[in-house]
Amino acid sequence: MTGRDLAERRGMETNVYQPAEDSALLAEAVVDHAEGRFLEVGTGSGWVAERAAREANVERVVASDVNPHACESARERGATLREEGHLGIDAVRGNLLDPFREDSFDTVAFNPPYLPTDPDNEWDDWMEQALSGGETGRKFLDPFVDDVGRVLRPGGRVLLLVSSLAGFDDVVARVESAGFDHETVVQESYPFEVLSILRLTK
């Protein structure tokens, strides 16, 4: 299955990843486990961040993405939320965790681009960036896992979506070498993959 097939199956727009099964699983974990200052990395349309602002026990919601269209979508959701009297969403354009200070968040959630992609078969647009996890499927997941402990406050937790396509055992090995304890808090099987949400704590 190519990324294009998956894109079609999920009925995506061309510029911003729209909520799909993986988003729903991450949102479920966020509603149950997020607290305090919350960051969603790679927020896409901002849908999971909105669920956090509406339903989770959080005090602030920050959403980041490398894609400017995604940042606009998250910011618009935030404006609507504030009008309705909810927490808003602070949108930040950036690469992974690069623009955030140490000890900034109690909860960090990430649904990484994870489709393993043949480098000769990549296409160069925002949707490709939202889907492709490079040859291993872990091009973004690995540097995220290596750096996320820096931005977590003491007692914080990470909610990380892991697809079997990206190699569950490889992800767990990376998580352990970064010094995290881990627990699978949500798991669902789909025709092409098993999706899990790992909760990481120190």
Partner: protein, 62 residues
Amino acid sequence: MKESLMDILCDPLDKSDLELEVTDRDGDEIITGRLVGTVTGEEYPIEDGIPNLLPPDMRDDE
């Protein structure tokens, strides 16, 4: 962006502090301005309320 976001943002190049320069604001929301690295001198634009903290080598891909 809300001015309070300054508490959690840093220069993506070296994690040092940023200085906020406001051009246009709407209440506590900064609509246009820039963030300047206090060590690197790098300038990061704030446009339409969104700070762009991509490092310079990732900025030109729109």
